[in-house]
């Protein structure tokens, strides 16, 4: 589904990613771990096409299509979704209205008609039930005055509504207490299928207790320095990132 080859990227002329190779297939969960400043969030931003991030070398293929010239919204239309580390507030726009716009813009791009109000309502109800979300929440302005946990839950809710092929969870565990973490992880697990893939970006192992990865990659100074199964995460937790630093010397 996603193939990254020798990816180099810059922000403000500073090299952040220095040659990343990664392949994610449908049905897989990949965890990207690494210390602060290793380039984890940059990787997510480059895949989703954030403006300030410039690809200088290599390629990103999504379903065998090069993404370099594709706008962020078109990437979204193709099925790439990111759960933001810091979800953005948009005052005056209800969560329902925002999601409705997102779904219909995506459908329009795919040559489909707007989703009928009836189908939309049905889907909203189903996904609310699935993720244990109170429907009252939908009438609030998107992310405005939401607690950290509510914001992250809202991200997962949007993911449920948009049904992406590839979901990138950028530090979804940051700022969550253990109960909120479980709810969010539970949601992700329920949405997981053989046809979609998840990329979990995290600093800590604790989220991976709940979203169990098939592969773990350790990012350090803009490169993947170690890959392995889920046990790699435990090892990291035990030995810390210094262990990796020692090992690659």
């Amino acid at each position: 589904m996603l193939k990254i080859k020798n990816l180099h990227a810059q922000v403000d002329d500073k090299d952040i990613l220095k040659g990343i190779d990664l392949e994610i297939k449908a049905g897989e969960i990949h965890a990207i771990m690494g210390p602060n400043g290793s380039g984890k969030s940059t990787l997510a931003s480059v895949i989703t096409g954030k403006e300030e991030y410039e690809m200088t070398e290599g390629e990103i293929l999504f379903e065998n299509e090069e993404l370099d010239e594709v706008s962020p919204e078109e990437r979204a239309h193709k099925g790439i979704f990111m759960s933001f580390q810091y979800p953005i507030e948009i005052p005056g726009i209800t969560t329902t209205n925002f999601i409705k716009t997102a779904i219909n813009e995506t459908r329009k791009a795919r040559g489909q008609n707007d989703m009928s109000a009836k189908d939309m309502l049905k889907m909203l109800r189903e996904k609310c039930d699935l993720l244990d979300i109170d429907q009252k929440f939908l009438s609030r302005s998107i992310n405005e005055g939401f607690s950290g946990g509510e914001k992250k839950r809202n991200e997962i809710f949007q993911m449920a509504m948009l049904e992406p092929k590839l979901a990138i969870l950028d530090e979804t565990d940051s700022g969550l207490d253990i109960d909120a973490l479980k709810i969010v992880a539970n949601g992700v697990n329920k949405l997981k299928s053989e046809d979609n893939a998840v990329m979990v970006i995290t600093h800590y192992q604790r989220l991976l207790d709940h979203i169990v990865p098939d592969y773990v990659h350790v990012l350090f100074d803009g490169k993947i320095v170690k890959s392995g199964g889920k046990e790699l995460a435990f090892e990291l937790e035990k030995k810390g990132y210094d262990w990796i630093k020692e090992e690659i010397k």
Partner: protein, 482 residues
């Protein structure tokens, strides 16, 4: 990566052509340019006005000659040469029409482009439209339904002839001839406008609506509107406008007077979309308007405005809260783009006891435009326990525009409670990227952010107007392509 950057967006905002920039070629009967006693007498004569009206105009003209153009507003523009304006123009094929088939097809075409064809309007449930093109009423509908209730809704011209006692009593009673330079000018040369009277205890069964439109090149538009709501009555009045693209500046100096007698309520909504000028700041309408209402005991006046057009706007719809327990409201969205300048706000004059006013102002600036809120809350010595709440929010798009707030508060009674809140925010790249990542392109993203920002005011508009207003916000800000 080739992306839609903020620079691209800015460029696009600047290059959007005025969507309604077409020109209807209708033969016009236009007076020579310039201003003199002779011209004023000629205007009055063309309209077959009674002598008292001619005298009233001449008196205003004399007073106006002694006045000078105000320059305290936060706007810069080249003062229009008032001797180069024609003060009267009316479609020459003037006869009243019995049906739409008889109306000039080009005119109907204009309406179609605006999406407000009389045809459509007639079908729109409950909306009576008195269409004013270049000063003379072309079609008035729903008149019969209204007259059954004793409601008078006609052109000012007609009212002067058919209801002189009402016009004589109330014209200039809220906005005196000498109120300001442009009000005086309007009093001398006003071309036409709308007149509305709601009898005691009558609730007007439909929204009354007038679409104004400047059409003839170099023609000034001087509308005069008078709305009188007698005791215990209610009326909702809609005013919307759109002007075709012209190169020379056009002056629009209207006067609107509202009289809400005891226990009456007037809701006055405006969507203003005059030609704003091109991306270099050339052309566009000068919109210098005086709008004011006076409230009796327990009466209420509510102004709602969506201002997206004009090169220069100078407008302060105000309420004189004379009666006890009277209520004044002002809800405003002002959008400026390119080189547009808006200096707009309200005056709430609390005179009676327990009077209450609310001001919600939303200013949106893009391009190199300047957007100012200017408001006065005045509490007189007898206005015991009066209250005001003001909220002024500004939203900036890009780095070259400006937002300004000039609130003035004067209180002469210690029991008054006055609250003022103000915020300024900028559409962030993060907000846009967040929308992009959800599949919403940048244009649409700005539209939803602006809609969210303006929601409190949009919600105050009558339904059919709210839809049009939302459309206008999109057109003026990101020019909805296709």
């Amino acid at each position: 990566m080739s992306k839609y950057t903020e620079d691209d967006l800015k460029k696009e905002l600047e290059t959007k052509k005025y969507e309604y920039g077409f020109y209807t070629d209708i033969e016009s009967d236009t007076l020579p340019m310039g201003l003199s006693e002779e011209i004023i007498v000629a205007i009055s004569k063309k309209k077959e006005e009674p002598d008292w009206m001619t005298e009233w105009r001449l008196d205003a003209f004399k007073k106006w000659q002694k006045m000078s153009e105000p320059n305290w507003a936060n706007v810069n523009y080249e003062k229009p040469d008032l001797q180069k304006i024609s003060y009267y123009s009316a479609p020459s094929n003037k006869p009243k029409y019995n049906s739409l088939d008889e109306v000039d097809p080009e005119l109907l075409e204009t309406f179609k482009k605006l999406g407000i064809s009389v045809d459509e309007q007639k079908k729109l449930a409950g909306v009576a439209v008195d269409v004013v093109i270049d000063s003379v009423s072309v079609a008035t509908s729903f008149k019969e339904t209204l007259s059954e209730k004793g409601i008078i809704f006609c052109s000012m011209n007609e009212a002067i002839k058919t209801h002189p006692e009402l016009v004589k009593k109330y014209i200039g009673s809220v906005v005196p001839k000498t109120d300001n330079y442009y009000a005086a000018l309007n009093s001398a040369v006003f071309s036409d406008g709308s007149f509305c009277y709601i009898p005691k205890g009558v609730k007007c069964p439909m929204e009354l609506s007038t679409y104004f439109r400047i059409n003839e090149a170099g023609t000034g538009q001087f509308e005069r509107t008078l709305v009188i709501a007698d005791k215990g009555s209610y009326v909702s009045y809609l005013e919307g406008c759109s002007a075709p693209s012209r190169d020379e500046n056009q002056l629009h100096a209207a006067v609107v007077e509202l009289i809400a007698m005891d226990d009456a309520e007037i809701k006055y909504s405006t969507v203003q979309n005059w030609y704003p000028g091109d991306s270099e700041g050339k052309g566009g309408v000068f919109n210098f308007v005086t709008k004011r209402g006076v409230c009796g005991d327990n009466a209420k006046i509510s102004w709602t405005q969506v201002e997206t057009g004009s090169a220069v706007t100078w407008k302060y719809p105000s309420c004189i809260l004379k009666g006890k327990n009277s209520v004044g409201e002002f809800y405003s969205i002002a959008v400026t783009n390119n080189f547009q300048q808006a200096d707009t706000g309200t005056k709430m004059i609390h005179i009676g006891e327990n009077t209450k006013s609310t001001i919600i102002s939303k200013g949106i600036s893009a391009g190199k435009s300047q957007n100012s809120y200017r408001g006065l809350v005045h509490v007189g010595p007898r206005a015991k326990n009066s209250r005001n709440f003001s909220q002024c929010d500004s939203l900036l798009i890009g780095n070259e525009c400006g937002a300004h707030t000039f609130p003035y508060i004067e209180t002469k009674n210690k029991s008054a409670k006055i609250e003022h809140e103000a915020t300024t925010s900028k559409i962030g790249e993060d907000q846009i990227f967040y929308c992009n990542q959800r599949g919403i392109d940048t244009e649409k993203a700005i539209a939803i952010i602006v809609n969210g920002f303006s929601k409190e005011v949009l919600n105050k508009l009558p339904m059919e107007f709210a839809v049009e207003a939302q459309k206008l916000l999109e057109i003026s800000l990101e020019g909805s392509v296709g």
